[in-house]
Symmetry: C2
Subunit: 420 residues, 2 copies
């Protein structure tokens, strides 16, 4: 292992850029060998990773870190095994680099081919979740990209050990160790410089709280792919099947309430309210969901507090759900247009025309009929791991897998053509 100390942030960015050139030309076999070496190193490195993690956890507890954050920061032997197997899954995925996106022969004989190429250097700014360090570095490696990681000072010790382990693994398989860099040691100033690093960093991905994402979008001069919050709705249409409605609403709310694809608001067609509101709300209440309901819903289920405008607009991220009875599909669409963060929206219906209208008119990354919103996920979609879920419309929308970490390049093959 090479030891280098006191590299400036610009040095690190330059090294990442240089490494990205070698990585862009690396064969799939070599990148997969690098991933396997990372998986083995994560498994074998528990004796270095866990003490560093313990140090971060001790600091976190001292600084009053919430239980949820402590949980996300914590690594265990079992979690390291899970991380290693996620890396091996990424090795199994198809390599997007070199894929031909489209092509044609022009009338003048020029041969045009649009091929996938790595971005180059991917920057990531995220909060104290060490698994993101491994996930993003591995997805970036498979797609031929170098990474510059700013993982949050609360996980600084853990991330430093993880990045060192990744760098050693890369070197052991003939890949450039500089392809993965952490800039945690530069603190907030490091994040600021990363956001200004045009020419060094091709794309920046923020992952974490809405506040973090908003700050990156506001400040970054490097192009950003926004991953965002989910104010997610489930609309029960007049024709919704009762059992399906109960299953989908309960799953969408209860299965993992702290994540972005969990539902926040239930909308029910008034002509189905008598039939559906009592069983669905009873099922939610039985699972300890606190209900915020409008007047018409409360008439059918007394054990709910009145819903407010603010409830409709926020991500509860907890066992709380808003309920509103609407006059028709139009009112449901209006409500969604007003409060949706354009992440995932679902309708439960057996009416063909309304299903198609909902799919066509709702403007969101993912629109569903008769399925739980919890399926909006790179793993569930079959992408292997995911870099995040894009809620913007540029470049990538929805769960981002390997192709979303690539750009394209036009190749033009000629035989002396000039323009007339």
């Amino acid at each position: 292992m090479t030891t280098r100390t006191a590299l400036s942030l610009t040095d690190k960015l330059s090294l990442a850029r240089e490494a990205s050139r070698a990585l862009a030309q690396a064969s799939t076999a070599r990148k997969n060998a690098g991933l396997e070496a990372i998986a083995q190193a994560v498994e074998a490195g528990a004796d270095r990773i866990l003490p560093a993690n313990e140090l971060d956890l001790a600091n976190g507890r001292e600084n009053g870190m919430s239980a949820g954050l402590v949980d996300r920061l914590t690594l265990t032997e079992a979690r390291l095994e899970g991380l290693a197997s996620a890396v091996r899954e990424i090795a199994q995925l198809a390599d997007p680099v070199g894929d031909v996106v489209r092509g044609s022969s022009l009338p003048n004989g020029l041969q045009l081919t649009q091929v996938r190429v790595p971005f180059g250097v991917i920057g990531a700014i995220y909060e104290a979740r060490p698994n993101v360090t491994i996930d993003i570095a591995s997805l970036a490696l498979k797609s031929g990209n170098a990474t510059v990681l700013r993982g949050g000072s609360a996980a600084e010790h853990t991330n430093r050990v993880l990045v060192g382990i990744i760098q050693d693994a890369l070197e052991s398989t003939g890949l450039p160790r500089d392809a993965v860099q952490t800039i945690d040691e530069f603190g907030r100033e490091g994040a600021t410089q990363l956001m200004a690093a045009r020419g060094y960093v091709d794309v920046l991905i923020p992952r974490g709280s809405q506040g973090l994402i908003d700050a990156v979008v506001r400040e970054s001069k490097v192009p950003v792919i926004e991953t965002g919050a989910g104010v997610v709705h489930v609309y029960l249409d007049e024709s919704a099947d009762e059992a399906m409605a109960v299953d989908i609403v309960v799953n969408a709310k209860v299965q993992r309430p702290s994540v972005c694809n969990a539902a926040e608001t239930l909308l029910v067609h008034r002509d189905a309210a008598d039939r559906l509101v009592p069983p669905v709300l009873a099922a939610l209440a039985a699972r300890n969901v606190r209900l915020h309901a409008d007047e018409r819903a409360r008439a059918l289920h007394a054990d709910a507090v009145p819903v407010t405008e603010e409830d409709y607009a926020i991500e509860h991220m907890a066992l709380e759900m808003n309920v509103r009875v609407v006059d028709d599909l139009d009112e449901a669409l209006d409500h969604i247009r007003r409060y949706s963060t354009r992440h995932t929206e679902a309708i439960v219906t057996n009416d063909y025309a309304r299903a198609e209208r909902f799919l066509a008119e709702v403007d969101a990354a993912v629109v569903m009929v008769n399925a739980s919103t919890r399926f909006t996920d790179g793993g569930e979609f079959g992408f292997g791991a995911e870099v995040g879920i894009s809620t913007q419309k540029l470049h990538a929308r929805g769960p981002m897998g390997l192709p979303e970490l690539t750009s394209t390049k036009w190749i033009v093959r000629g035989s002396g053509q000039v323009r007339g």
Copy 2:
């Protein structure tokens, strides 16, 4: 024609957003009818367009506008006919909306489809070129998007008439007239507000000088697609055919020197210098190209001034060209990496391995073998008109046609699936 006065900028943005919803659902037939109506209105509207243009031209001349800018601002009967036929060409192109990008059936029975959808509202900030008003509004209409246009105060009168004509044409075919808006009347403040209009505008496209583009990239809170300058290189490898080298270099430099895909620097392998430098530079000189050459090239062609570092870094946009003799392909690749704006780069060679290495290693939107760099163009690539040439890596890279004006949406069709 409805007349509305004194709409605020926020009013206009809201109207565009509302119109975008109708446009997103409009059939291809209706959008094509709207385009035909625009083409007819441009042809029939000369008596209103040309006097407004004359007013802008008079103001421009008074303010000392350069001859080049005056030329770009000028409309004539013939140019209006050209614009109308460009609109009709866009009507002939395939509609990207609804195209299925990919899809799959998941093991749990969910049907996944990724379909193309319009962005919603496209903002454009550009300089005094009234043809861009028609081009962008038409491309956006075909791809189901509303547009908010900030065309530069120097073309304000022309753009106001053009946008009025477009709005009337839209209305006459049952499309929302608010789908195309100009905000020229709000001056610089309008551009500033447009760049801050998150939630109203989905993507912002700056077209014009490097200074304009840099300012938009620096200030915009709305996602930007950067179109940029071209410091474009042609590298003559050892094995380059002499006649092909002369044709391609002359075409790349001379055919239209003021545009971004024109070449700025010629690199020549030293073992081909004696054979290629004299005829290529003689051909350039015969076409009044002023040559900036390094010592080795000047030894073979006396009539050149010494080239400077600054020459290598700028877009001449004129009949001027830099010439450098390099030791080998590696030195050529180093030079390109250092000075390229990653727009278009070309090699002239008959060596298979070097051609493939150049294509693989050069990081640019378009990389060519044995063809003039002037082919980097939406029209030449068969995209019909183009919105611009993206020099960034996110979302779109190279000439942007209709698919580049769309986002995607994931459609999930289920039968009651919940996540386990």
